[in-house]
Symmetry: C2
Subunit: 345 residues, 2 copies
DNA sequence: TGACCATTTTGGATCGTTCCAACAAATTCA
DNA sequence: TGAATTTGTTGGAACGATCCAAAATGGTCA
């Protein structure tokens, strides 16, 4: 049980040197002679020494704890789990460990978790904020010189660094694909108008649609809850506009599935009578009937990218603000009505 | 940037008391007078004080760091993500934070991660070990009085506490269900023979099959890789034994899906010509065709249970060994050929 | 009033490490 | 040879909290 801890002093004694020398060895300093280093290392193995980062950290300026905090809003969601894995990979290979916590979209929980991480002296924080997060919640960290990187969802008024998917170009690519299939009236379905992601995606729609020379038609933009039910509802409303659309790009895959439901209840078969494109590429997208054409974002790659950015800022010491967009790609399946061959394009 | 840290001494000064008193307040001691406490708390808010756990920890005996380490072998797998969430819930509400890392089935990585966690002074470790983990890897922790709880996969020769699903009774229940549907020749398909989980599940099969009065037939046990391909292979071999089986319970859902593939290539329709039962209840089980009858383990509940056990051991101070089994339940869908009504039984 | 008690408060010493300035030993150079 | 330089090593003072024994405070009672 409570056996006395082995400390640098014990090592020093066993190796016949001073504790300062042991410390130097610990830090891999080139100042110590090879033979001395060997003696020390041997003593450490001998006695089963465990480095005490807490103590080291106490003395070290700038709290280089070697811990990065990672906070996600829903670990249950495969997307975020992948993201966390991506972060873990780069962070771990840089010799850091990751404090990972899940907020389950609760702002209170998020606050607690972040506070707790701060007490533990994290060197940086990576967060996929819960819905409705106030950006100023992170101000104290930034003021204290702790880098903060926001992922997936960007925060308005952002002085914070962020890594988000390239939403505009993802949607734009989807629109271009539909245009190339001959569609002229393309709707944009679903999503809450008060979120940053909605506006990013909508802007991609807008620019692609005008670039194609169709002009932007407000009536073809139908917001809704970003859920299956919302999608069904949205497509119904879209079908009611005069000069009805023949295709839609949806806010996300859930909306897209809902749109398919809605189409069927109007006796329209998605993929044949009406083209549907989603966003996210959730697992079911592949196996659904018809298989969903969608914009795929690689969450693990995103996690890696975000981890790199955070590490860079930690290394730089200062807190700078940088916004990164990770690329996305269109995965052509069946719901857009394109012949399967197009998938290879 | 590097603004000087606010310490207990600053607070003491601002509140006109001694640092000891501030410390008492920090620990919620009943010794301090209400008015004094209020002054101190106000000063803390005023100056934006952040508790330094590292420093506290240094002085405190027994390393009550308030950190628990959680190591899983595959965070990408929804099962483990859910598990981690379950752990997080109980651990967090007890005021601990969780260090979560992913090993991706790499033993080396696992070793690194555990070492790193130890350096950070975790108060307990919860681990779903990577395949091929040597139980003695955790001996140093146990010797140092740090509780270790193994989840999901139990480790042979286990002096360690563990929380695993009740594999025997899960499989036994599946067998009984098949018997009730009239099956007499039931195979056990898939899984590596050298894993503990395999033997646990097989033992459930064995006992249920003998309890039903059929006698245990070695030929009906067909191990294979615990994958889709392995399942296809296993079912093919099972169909080749004389007096061929009419049903199978599979090592896990992946094997079960493979078995369905294999059946079809033998012109047998799963659920109609041959009954298949899986284990795990992965997400696709519900949506597959036919929907998979399977044994469901609730990973989040398991995580909560494991978290509780770990906290209990941390609180107790000592390291005791306890083995917990979490209950499982059979989810009847279509692949076993039972009429849908049976699902309500 | 002074002895006694309960309640609050307090100044060091301490935890395990790193930093710093100073020292000893070995080497180089004039 | 002696001074200057390089190369290794070292003791003590931090870091920011907790613990302990002791002191201050206030009340009660003979």
């Amino acid at each position: 049980m409570g056996r006395p801890r082995v400390t640098v002093i014990d090592i020093a004694q066993a190796a016949g040197v001073s504790k300062s020398t042991v410390s130097l060895v610990l830090q891999g300093s080139p100042l110590v002679k090879g033979t001395t280093r060997a003696k020390v290392v041997e003593a450490m193995n001998e006695l089963g020494y465990v480095y005490n980062r807490g103590a080291a950290n106490l003395r070290q300026t700038g709290s280089k704890s070697g811990i990065v905090g990672v906070v996600v809003n829903d670990l249950t969601n495969g997307f975020f789990a992948e993201l966390a894995v991506g972060v873990d990979i780069v962070v771990q290979s840089a010799g850091f460990v990751q404090f990972l916590s899940n907020t389950g979209e609760s702002i209170d929980r998020q606050r607690e978790v972040v506070a707790s991480m701060r007490e533990h002296g994290i060197s940086g924080l990576l967060v996929s904020p819960a819905r409705g997060t106030d950006p100023s919640d992170f101000a104290p960290l930034v003021e204290a010189g702790i880098p903060v990187v926001v992922v997936v969802r960007s925060l308005p008024g952002g002085k914070l660094s962020s890594v988000v998917a390239d939403n505009p170009s993802g949607v734009a690519g989807a629109v271009r694909h539909l245009v190339s299939l001959g569609h002229r009236r393309i709707a944009f379905l679903g999503g809450f108008q008060d979120t940053a992601v909605f506006h990013e995606r909508l802007s991609g729609y807008r620019s692609a649609v005008t670039a194609a020379g169709f002009g932007f038609d407000e009536a073809l933009v139908v917001p809704s809850a970003p859920s299956r039910a919302g999608g069904a509802d949205a497509v119904a409303r879209a079908l009611a506009v005069e000069e009805r659309p023949t295709a839609a790009v949806c806010f996300n895959d859930a909306v897209a599935f809902g749109a398919c439901d809605g189409l069927r209840s109007h006796r329209l078969e998605p993929g044949r009578d009406f083209a549907v494109v989603g966003f996210d590429d959730v697992i079911e997208a592949r196996t659904a009937v018809p298989a969903l054409t969608t914009v795929s974002v690689d969450p693990q790659a995103m996690g890696r990218r975000a981890g790199q950015l955070l590490l860079k800022q930690i290394a730089a010491g200062g807190v700078s603000s940088e916004a990164v967009m990770t690329s996305v790609r269109l995965v052509v399946r069946e719901s857009c009505g394109a012949p399967r061959l197009a998938a290879q394009a």
